[in-house]
């Protein structure tokens, strides 16, 4: 027996007959749910069944069922393979690097934007800094090339103009990593401010007025009012970011990468693509991909648990 609210708003309880009636009354709601749920079944659940091929010696002509079982062979092979650990640690390194370099930028930017007094100026700045979010990584790479390339990039043209030797930033591992992190901040920092600005705009004006009466200066107000009021959002976003650590940014790295630097930036996702769809090593690639999916899932469950514990709100 469950309690539901009837149309008139009063509470009624129902048994089997009434359950059937409730379902019938909501038939159009189910009808509306069907297309989306069916799509999720086809494009999310069938591939979950497809992970079976990680445990088989899959050949595309035979199909999953007819291919012979391979047990954990592919997993054992991956874990004993130097390249696998290289891409695994690259994934962690790049993800943590992006957090360390990029996570605080939108927070500081939002706090500074919030201090702007001229509303028109503030809006223009916002419009400008949100823009890169909408640009694809393919195009961002075009911009990177036009600035950093050894063949006619702005910086190298300036270097040669002043009589220096051109530097190929795109194959210099240190410079290349700098470009990865820098372009990530360039693309995402402005967009990242939206959520913090939303939290800042929710601050009670009375609280600010009270602080002014108490003689708090602007700096003190930011420290004691603004920062605490966005702390909750900061923690949730940080936890979410940790949960997504297995995704180091396929679109960016796949487009930016070149063979010279690949051993520093090859991540699990680019490795799976290379193994499976370039070398047609489907089962091995699926095993590496499954390893990542399971790890990512465990991480998400963990951070969801943590967020429930610390913020009393479950993310999912």
């Amino acid at each position: 027996m469950r309690i539901v609210r009837s149309l008139e708003g009063s509470e009624i309880s129902y048994g089997n007959r009434n359950l059937a009636r409730t379902i019938w009354r909501n038939r159009y709601v189910y009808l509306l749910l069907i297309p989306g749920l069916l799509h999720i079944f086809i494009f999310s659940y069938i591939p979950m069944y497809g992970v079976l091929l990680a445990f088989k010696d899959f050949s595309i002509t035979r199909g999953i069922l007819a291919s012979p079982w391979a047990g954990l062979k592919h997993f054992e092979r991956a874990l004993g393979f130097g390249k696998f650990w290289q891409v695994f640690f690259n994934t962690l390194k790049i993800s943590f690097g992006k957090i360390a370099i990029g996570f605080w930028v939108p927070i500081v930017l939002a706090l500074l934007l919030n201090e702007l007094k001229n509303r028109l100026f503030k809006r223009v700045v916002q419009t400008i800094i949100y823009l890169p979010h909408f640009i694809s990584w393919v195009i961002v790479y075009g911009m990177v090339v036009s600035i950093f390339s050894a063949e006619g990039g702005v910086i190298n043209k300036l270097i040669t103009y002043f009589g220096g030797e051109p530097v190929n930033f795109l194959i210099e591992p240190g410079a290349f990593m700098g470009i990865i992190y820098g372009s990530e901040v360039w693309k995402g920092a402005g967009w990242g401010t939206i959520i913090y600005l939303a939290a800042l705009s929710g601050i009670d004006q009375e609280l600010i007025d009270a602080a002014i009466v108490d003689g708090a200066n602007r700096f003190q107000r930011v420290i004691h009012i603004n920062i605490p009021s966005i702390m909750h959002t900061v923690i949730i976003l940080f936890i979410l970011r940790i949960g997504g650590i297995m995704n180091a940014g396929f679109d960016q790295i796949f487009n930016f990468m070149n063979p010279v630097v690949s051993r520093y930036v090859d991540i699990i996702d680019t490795y799976v693509y290379q193994l499976g769809l370039v070398q047609s090593n489907y089962s091995f690639a699926a095993a590496v991909g499954l390893f990542k999916s399971v790890l990512a899932c465990a991480l998400l469950l963990l951070v969801n648990f943590l967020s429930k514990k610390f913020t009393e709100s479950s993310i999912f």
Partner: protein, 296 residues
């Protein structure tokens, strides 16, 4: 009194400094765009001789004229428009209907349906099984539908949309129900019209994703006639740049340099629709994201 003045002086210094910082940040954001625009309008010889090229001395339209008469470019622009329009319609159809269904918390079986949807955010089969599904089981290899269909549902967007629907007072629906309207009619006649800011936001988000699509094209499309703009750009920019970084041949380097104006013009044309549309929707999507944020 004295303390007060000194404080407001600091405050003014800070304001000036803050404005200065913001201007620098805006410059850093805009410069890459500006650089590309400048190269696309400059002559090849000026591109070579003028290192900064902030303002080309001679503005030429050669690169744009070349692209406009290039069948490959025009065709992939049309393919991209098709993918965007059809894809976004498909996105909105699936996500709006499902989000509306998910906003009915009293539905029998609701928890099971919610779990079924949410589970896909935690676990995915990964790239290889999805590829096998589309290429082999659905038999879509080489079809433009392989580009459009897989991204039909975006569970995250669906949930944000659902939480927007949650904020609509149920009394609106109930009175319509008493008048005999069914749920589909209510969605179309009442819910969608009053959710226009959220709907517009998601149309924008889905449009940008569709417009920027290249990955599925790389996986499933071999025929160059079906390339989207972004994939064509990828072929033009990433491939040749990789060749040049490896230093293949002098001829390749020369050709690469000579092509740069055309590539930059192609980037400008491919980015223009987004730049033109999005400032007008800014107010809406900021609101849309805030609703997502409040939901947490």
């Amino acid at each position: 009194m004295k303390r007060r003045t000194s404080e407001s002086t600091y405050s003014k210094i800070f304001d000036a400094f803050n404005i200065f910082l913001m201007l620098i940040f805006c410059f850093l954001t805009l410069y890459p765009f500006w650089n590309i625009i400048a190269i696309s309008f400059a002559t090849y010889s000026e591109y070579l001789s003028n290192p900064l090229l902030l303002f080309p001395k001679k503005v030429v339209f050669d690169n744009y004229i070349y692209l406009m008469s290039d069948d490959t470019f025009i065709r992939s622009a049309l393919v991209t428009v098709f993918v965007t329009v059809v894809g976004v319609l498909y996105n909105m159809l699936l996500n709006v209907t499902a989000a509306y269904g998910l906003s009915k918390k009293n539905l029998p079986g609701y928890n099971a349906i919610w779990g079924y949807v949410i589970f896909t955010m935690f676990f995915s089969g990964g790239l290889i099984p999805s590829f096998i599904l589309v290429a082999k089981w659905l038999g879509l290899m080489g079809s433009i539908w392989a580009v459009i269909l897989p991204y039909g549902v975006n569970v995250f967007n669906m949930i944000v949309l659902k939480s927007f629907f949650d904020t609509i007072p149920s009394s609106l629906e109930e009175s319509a129900k008493i008048d005999g309207a069914n749920d589909i009619l209510i969605l179309v006649k009442i819910i969608i019209p009053i959710s226009m800011p959220a709907i517009a936001t998601f149309i924008l988000f889905f449009s940008v994703d569709r417009w920027n699509e290249w990955f599925n094209v790389m996986l499933y499309i071999q025929d160059a006639k079906k390339y989207t703009l972004q994939f064509l750009l990828r072929q033009m920019i990433v491939r040749s740049a990789t060749q040049v970084t490896q230093g293949v041949s002098q001829a390749a380097v020369e050709e690469y340099r000579f092509m740069i104006g055309i590539k930059m013009a192609a980037i400008v044309l491919a980015t223009l629709p987004i730049i033109c549309v999005y400032p007008f929707l800014q107010k809406h999507f900021v609101k849309g994201i805030m609703i997502g944020a409040i939901k947490g």
